[in-house]
Symmetry: C2
Subunit: 503 residues, 2 copies
């Protein structure tokens, strides 16, 4: 590598370290806002976060940074380390995306997202979409403006947003995937609804305390292999995971007094995200390539732990004694098999994060269709609660009674569009690599024994290693040897529910 | 005011707003580190905080800022607003203090304090002073270096540090104050130790849950008038209060399974700090003069609520039903008077924050003498555990069995010296203004009725209003009409314990 390129690389690394410091601070502030920051202070703290984020943005707009990073991209074949070549591509991509965004615009956009978060929280608490509606309209306008400013953009507006979270994924792909899902899932759902099998669920709504749920959450994270020296957990309105730093992963959950399974599956889901964050290659941090190319991969991991592991017979066998001990009153007359069936009951319901594995995809399809309407068809934001209710009626035969259990349930739209589909893709990805994993060792046996070292080790070597380095398609082929297919996911669901519901 | 001065003031305000943004972020990061940040991530997060703090420092070193702020100071009589005149003096003072400190030095100092915090936490957990000792030595060296760099300094090295927390306070003053205290407190302590009165304390060590203590803490903060829309509370190793922003005050506490009174008095103490932060004049924020000139005032407030209010008969009468309800098992056979006497029992003990009002001052004198030895006499840091034990033997007749209950108990030395004496001064200040308050209304009656609007209102109008605006001496005279005297404090203690111990 020539001396002048080495110097450019070193300058870039130095600037990226400074940017990372600002971004680290922003992540801590954001975590604080979502977990403990008092209501009246949100606005001021959001402004501080916007200020710091803008400082980082300005560094990327400096002439020397642009000149150096573009030189790295043009001469990337001269770079010695393949990870630096990935960095050069990421930088170029990000340069094109923000080339026409000025620091003033960047700052203005941040403030729009901040206000949207504050208004959403307030609207959700009061169950009144009208409080959130003006902010959401501004978010939509910002998303459209950002698309129009891109130097290199895809013809379909919404495709640009999908591409941010899942590189290479388009509405054309997703329309086809979701159409196949509908074709196979609707008949299964109808069969379940007509089946004679009755699953006991009365105990799921029995009272439990926050303290019990906290103990259960801690036990589950420990069981999964979460490293408490490098992570922590607390509560928030909407459960989430934040990888704050190389040795710092935070997960949150939510405790409801009459839904103890909700916090169980929230913490397993977020714990899955956390394991990936904890065990991603240190080299990725050193080379600043931890900007995920595939959030579908991230969600495939969280939903692998939540569903493929967490709702399996083997896992219920493993945790049953602890569930019975911790929730002793609520679980007083519940057998292991009753618990297994109850956590797998299929019911069309209103809240995505509480949905069963079968109807979950419909929740995503609904959001996907609404986002397309908002982004591509410029749908009236104020009509969203009605559109939402109609979609739920169409896909699941039910309507929300209020905005909190309807259009306001998710935090995601406070920061833009395009994320939801990665959850559905995640289910499909993990169905593919679960097959591969099963061919290599007895996964159910490892789960039943609580041998998470074996499972996490496989995930680390095969799934997490390349998540920041390859595009989703390359990454999936690297693990499974196959191209993407939705069939393994649909086969898995069909088999599972045929057995449980004796179809 | 002339146009050029107006422009300078406006430039200063703009820079101070930017500095405040960095400092706000630092406070959030610090709060995070002390409450939830995982062990392995402390170092990295401390570095981010040092980076941001250094950005703020650099802004104060820019030529235009120095030129403008010095012009404001020289021409302060031309300033229209008296608060701007206070700002001009504060800026000049801070300019002199850091004139010879370069940004590189400032950054290096921050890292020393960060390491000290991480090592102290680790040392305290392992009860091993040797882990903290090298860091503490570095902190001492930094403090000495900072003193030597001051443009204008007091001849006695330690006086410079005292002056930072309590403007105008010197070792000469404190030696005299503490000598008077010893003269009157030792005889009272001996009388108590020889008295026949037996106070029941068996129930104080009964088991309670974290959940019960959390409920109690929330009840106490609500009772005191803490505004949860503008504040929050959580747990940390060492209880503290952080005024994060104008509408954001955080307090922390600590739950021990066998010391329910510890969390009661911790939360009342921190709640007191919080009330001051919440109700300080908004103008002080607008004029950037919220850099306390008197931490003794701050501690006078926290210890007013903790002791004068919290350990009074009237307050015990007010909270007794709730204490009995929340800690029902631990309080099963405890009368109101037994609770009152138990929270006022006098016992020479090892831990400052658990000490009674009488022996508390000795804990401060010990730290004051050790700090003088470290700063003025350059005492060997490694000999500190032994020196500590000897002082406890001398003043209280007891020796710590390990470093955690001895020299490692307090967080303060991770960030320098000079703070402790403000606690003792706080007790003396509030004794003075409690007298004034009592002349104006029946304080005990207000406490018994839970009429904190009355008490907090008086504190706001009389105590908090000028805390950032006047020097400690001016401020005390403004409230009480008198000069500082230690006698009201000593009279109060003598009267209280004579009654309780029937001396």
């Amino acid at each position: 590598m020539k001396q002048d390129l080495r110097e450019k690389l070193s300058f870039i690394a130095q600037t990226l370290r400074e940017i990372e410091s600002y971004q680290h601070a922003c992540r801590v502030l954001n975590f604080d806002e979502e977990t403990i920051c008092p209501e009246r202070a949100m606005g001021a703290q959001g402004e501080v976060r916007a200020f710091l984020s803008n400082k980082a943005f300005k560094l990327t707009k400096e002439a020397r940074f642009i000149e150096s990073s573009e030189a790295l991209f043009i001469r990337k074949d001269e770079l010695d380390d393949p990870l630096d070549r990935i960095l050069a591509e990421d930088l170029h991509r990000s340069f094109l995306k923000t080339k026409n965004v000025t620091p003033a615009m960047d700052h203005e956009f941040s403030l729009v997202y901040n206000d949207a978060f504050v208004d959403w929280l307030n609207a959700k608490q009061k169950s009144d979409f009208a409080i959130f509606s003006p902010s959401l309209k501004k978010v939509r306008d910002v998303e459209l403006k950002k698309i129009s400013l891109r130097e290199s953009k895809l013809p379909d507006a919404y495709d640009n947003l999908l591409d941010d979270y899942e590189r290479g994924m388009t509405t054309r792909d997703l329309d086809a995937i979701f159409s196949t899902c509908r074709g196979r899932l609707v008949p299964i759902l109808h069969k379940i609804q007509n089946s004679k099998k009755r699953i006991r669920t009365d105990f799921l709504t029995r009272s439990v305390t926050d303290e019990q749920q906290r103990e259960m959450s801690k036990y589950l994270l420990e069981t999964m292999g979460f490293d408490f020296r490098r992570g922590a957990f607390t509560v928030s309105e909407h459960p989430f995971t934040e990888g704050l730093g190389r040795d710092d992963v935070r997960v949150t959950t939510h405790y409801y007094p009459n839904m103890f399974c909700s916090s169980i599956y929230s913490i397993i889901h977020e714990g899955g995200h956390a394991l990936f964050e904890m065990y991603q290659p240190g080299d990725d941090w050193d080379h600043f390539i931890n900007n995920d190319k595939t959030m579908g991969m991230h969600e495939s991991v969280s939903r692998f732990y939540e569903n493929r592991v967490g709702r399996s017979k083997a896992f219920i066998h493993l945790i049953y004694p602890s569930v019975k001990k911790i929730f002793s009153e609520a679980m007083r007359d519940v057998s292991e098999n009753e618990l297994y069936e109850a956590v797998n009951v299929v019911t069309p319901s209103l809240v995505r994060i509480e949905a069963d594995e079968l109807t979950y995809t419909f929740h995503i399809i609904i959001r996907y269709e609404l986002e397309k309407m908002m982004v591509n068809d410029h749908a009236e934001i104020s009509s969203l609660p009605e559109l939402w209710a109609e979609k739920y009626e169409e896909y699941l035969g039910i309507r929300p009674q209020n905005d909190t259990e309807g259009v306001l349930q998710d935090i995601h739209w406070t920061s833009g569009f395009g994320y939801f589909t990665t959850y559905a893709l995640g289910n499909m990805y993990n169905a593919m690599y679960y097959k591969t994993m099963s061919e290599e060792f007895d996964v159910e046996a490892a789960i039943a024994k609580g041998n998470f070292a074996r499972i996490n080790g496989w995930m680390k070597d095969r799934v997490w290693k390349n998540a920041n380095r390859l595009t989703p398609k390359e990454w999936l082929r690297d693990i499974t040897g196959d191209d993407f297919s939705v069939e393994p996911f649909l086969d898995y669901l069909e088999k599972k529910y045929t057995e449980i519901y004796e179809l």
